[in-house]
Symmetry: C2
């Protein structure tokens, strides 16, 4: 019997967990990703705010599997699936055959049709996004240094939309970048006009967290000078001004979009049932109802949480889903029955800044402040791929902490960015 060919689409948390589970099994794995590196999404906001280097949150995928003879890695952009012929189609490359398929293609930014968002908002969902945002933030300060009058017309006003973990983390990190680092870097420029505004449509930050965590996050951000506005939405985004649901206008050239995600566009190309935000509807074992040979996991899947709700788009759902899908493939091979996916919630955390974070683990009291922050630091170091990246992140963090400095505040190749919303500030 020839070995089963398992194709995995996406080398995020879910795809890597599936491939790792299968690496010593009696199957041939082909792992496809648009990039040659795995992106560690939870730390993108630190790249955007000059706390970490791009390379700290990226890990060469081939490096993970270099000792695994039965895992092949290919860089390729999957465009669709031919279910009859069991083929995965790739852009500009030959199609590949599969016996079993695991789709773990993740999310993309959802702008919910807000006018101007596609053109002018800065999403933060990939390493490219993070580098583009960093370049833009630093370029606005450079522009204000050359023309001080710009500071009064919104050039130093930063708006973050969305009060989830990403929005909270960006706001806090940006406030510290300005207050501790840029104030010294631009010692000859008046930065008092700098404003950081966090806008959240709901009545609370961090809706998934408990009340005390929400209140702690809000007061902790406000202590850092962030202007937190709850119950307010953004209704229009222009190149140098936005409109709020209150009717107020706010001059800004930098709006960070942390307000939501939808399924990767690959979901639309699969020709299968889709649920909320375009996510793919799956059976209890995470396979497709009409294609039991295919599994869909992580952010791109619409997974029932067992009580009528949906599992959240977080790393743990992807990791556990990847392991589960791999286990079902091995069960099929061994003639064992498949089992339903059971998600074990390990808790959640969000960091606000130096010595400030919130952590909620089921069955334990919620933690705030220094202890939560140390927990956050350790966990992220553990989940980073590769010893070298861990050492580098640790060195950067220690450096930033003890010197109040941030090394990687580099405007790298702004002239070559795919589309820069505000060219006059990026020159």
């Amino acid at each position: 019997m020839t070995r089963q060919r398992v194709v995995i689409v996406g080398a995020g948390f879910g795809g890597l967990a599936a491939a790792t589970t299968l690496e010593s099994a009696d199957v041939d794995v082909l792992l496809l990703d648009r990039h040659n590196y795995h992106q560690f999404l939870p730390l993108l906001y630190q790249v955007a705010t000059s706390g970490l280097n791009s390379a700290d949150v990226a890990y060469a995928i081939r490096g993970v599997f270099r000792r695994q003879q039965h895992v092949r890695v290919r860089k390729g952009h999957v465009t669709g699936v031919d279910w009859d012929r069991h083929l995965v189609h790739l852009r500009h490359e030959p199609s590949v055959e599969f016996d079993k398929l695991i789709v773990a293609a993740g999310s993309s930014t959802a702008f919910f049709g807000v006018p101007g968002a596609e053109e002018y908002a800065f999403p933060l969902y990939s390493l490219e996004d993070a580098v583009r945002l960093r370049n833009h933030i630093l370029s606005l300060f450079e522009a204000a240094a050359v023309r001080p009058a710009l500071a009064d017309d919104g050039t130093l006003t930063f708006v973050i939309v969305g009060g989830g973990p990403t929005g909270v983390e960006v706001s806090g990190a940006l406030a510290e970048l300005v207050d501790k680092v840029l104030r010294e870097d631009f010692h000859d420029v008046d930065l008092r006009a700098t404003r950081i505004v966090l806008v959240e449509q709901g009545d609370h930050l961090l809706t998934a967290f408990g009340e005390r965590s929400q209140a702690y996050a809000k007061s902790s951000l406000e202590e850092r000078g962030v202007d937190v506005r709850l119950g307010v939405a953004v209704t229009h985004i222009g190149p140098d001004e936005i409109v709020l649901s209150t009717g107020a206008r706010l001059a800004t050239r930098c709006l960070v979009w942390a307000a939501g995600v939808k399924a990767n566009p690959l979901a639309d190309a699969l020709g299968v049932d889709q649920g909320r935000a375009g996510r793919v509807v799956v059976s209890p074992d995470l396979s497709l109802p009409d294609h039991p040979e295919a599994f869909v996991i992580g952010d791109i899947a619409d997974i029932d949480d067992g009580s009528g709700g949906r599992l959240p788009q977080v790393a743990q759902v992807a990791i556990q889903g990847g392991r589960h899908a791999a286990a079902q493939i091995l069960a099929d091979q061994a003639g064992r029955p498949r089992t339903a996916f059971r998600y074990r919630n390990k808790g959640m955390m969000a960091t606000i800044g130096r010595r400030s974070a919130v952590t909620e683990v089921p069955g334990l009291p919620a933690l705030h402040g220094l202890v939560a922050w140390l927990g956050w630091l350790s966990l992220h170091l553990v989940y980073l791929l590769g010893v070298r990246n861990r050492v580098s992140v640790f060195v950067n963090w220690a450096w930033n902490y003890f010197t109040w400095d941030r090394g990687p505040r580099l405007i790298l190749r702004p002239e070559s960015l795919p589309h820069t919303p505000h060219p006059h500030a990026d020159g």
Copy 2:
């Protein structure tokens, strides 16, 4: 009396040395650079061959002078000088006035009119160049992994033009990258078709070095599998083929141009006398013959070596020149006479690979091998700017040395590169 305004153009080795010399003096310094970071050019080849991260060889210029109230830093592209009104013109920005001017704008790649070089050769003279070359090298291996037949048509043939330190260092580092790292990364691909060819027009590698060093470099490269061809030039460069002066054709999609530099184009815009390769002719004190208030230093200057020759385009000439120009400005201020620039040759070095380098210091015997390599490592760590960068480079080097791995083998944003010569391989 108002303080003298000293404008320095360029934050390379020369401009930084000048600004540092003047930072505590009774002058106001304005340091202009196209980037917001200083580039450590001697290590670009390691970025290109996945040995170091971009951020390791870049240092935020504002970080150097954050405690210096009289040094201002501005990101700007200088386009020319108005000598009558004492103005420096900038692209898209207001012009700035100066009392004293130091031009330290460096070099750019010289293609010597070789047909196809502008379009298809990969220079290695800026961080952008290094990242583009790295993306291209890794993308060619990815392409060969998808279509093994490509290996036979030159996709895995790398040609380096120029046998100076840069050409030697790239060739050696690339050979080690392929042999030690990519061979394991691409364990399912036949890399035996990989060829690295170093082409040098002259009869020796490292012409500025002694005979023993030249022979050592050649045999050391050949041991690593590099095909060294002396007395051969490249006469034509196409997208997938080059022509040599012997008439031979060689299929390749990656030609690294390390064959020479000329003055930064700013030299042409100054309206002053130019010497070899467009460099600006200077008086013995490094000022301009017709504009004693302006100094031109480093790679962009054509400096007499006192015996009829020209000083080389190396870091030490720029650093010593920057200090000298700054000292002349202080001498003027103190009413002391100016002095002629005297270059002290501290020696030169080039590295071939692990435990292999050549070092020649005047008055000492030439060193080859391990001792020269350790000297090279230490010196480059000392000359790097910033403790954080030194730590990061040290960690990367130790990692690469002991694990035979290279962390930063990432294809970062190939889709956004300014102009990619071979789009079919970079997709």
